[in-house]
Subunit: 194 residues, 2 copies
Amino acid sequence: MYPKKFEDLITAFQQLPGVGHKTAERYAFEVMNWTKEKQEEFLEGLKVLSTGIETCRICGNLSDGDLCPICLDETRDTSLICVVQSPKDIAAVESIQEYKGVYHVLNGVIDTSKGILPEDLRLSSLLQRVEAGNIKEVILALDPTVEGETTSLYIETLLKDKTQVTRPAYGIPIGGHLDYTDSLTLLRAFQGRK
Amino acid sequence: MYPKKFEDLITAFQQLPGVGHKTAERYAFEVMNWTKEKQEEFLEGLKVLSTGIETCRICGNLSDGDLCPICLDETRDTSLICVVQSPKDIAAVESIQEYKGVYHVLNGVIDTSKGILPEDLRLSSLLQRVEAGNIKEVILALDPTVEGETTSLYIETLLKDKTQVTRPAYGIPIGGHLDYTDSLTLLRAFQGRK
């Protein structure tokens, strides 16, 4: 029983991940209650959706211009490349504040069931970076799923004669319990024991 | 370490009620991953923020034009007015699917601590509606807070010689427990016993 414009607003918010009708309604009423200035500020922040965002020419990370903040940062070790599925994963790796190398975003993983083939990923640019030389190590930090594994194996084959290829350790998560760990993770943990 | 445009997007989403940095980040990555069409659809839904929304000339509810869907509905009983604080409360009353009258939105309650006085509310239009005649009953469905109570008493004084003024029953919520009910609610429940 809402006017159409308001229903449209609720429907828009419902598109956000994990937002149902009730939450979307709450967002809609809240934004309608904002001052004109705050509403304009909000729309201004969302402008990137119509202008689009650039991606880094080198690594494929989200960027304001030709290069992303990480590739622009001269203190980063450019001989170390961490390969990730999406820019989101860069945020996760950055949060550990340990990794000082650079990144390479694949924009997905090989998934034949969805028709995503190696040529759909940013693989040739990765190969170019490695072939340009001076790359000491490539860390494959893809999700430990079937598709992630397939992609990691594919990249390993592609790069193994050109540079050192590593992967993060898989195993029991810190704070986890042995008896609650799924058997595949436990298997990996035992295989990777030191 | 995000590009500015993307940070702005996260900041915008963080303005939504109950959305912290983590959730805003999730929303931002999600919307950036949408197809161009879906992004445009989303912005289209939010267009009401720049165009603004009209309010019903009669009741003050959100509306697409001169009158809101409820005031346009000829099956509603116009001799029965339910007074609410905001359009949001109309949604709540509508959800019980029991009330067949019309509404009057005050756009707030009297709150001297915030400088909201009777003249800031849509009270004169309410008085006009009642004085125009044919109003059998006015239900004051304001929040049972100090400010809501003050406003209810104010309206009661204003209208008591002109029409019948009622309020919804206050008491123990269905499914609630007697020992978990706060004493003010319990007091009201005992005062209102039948």
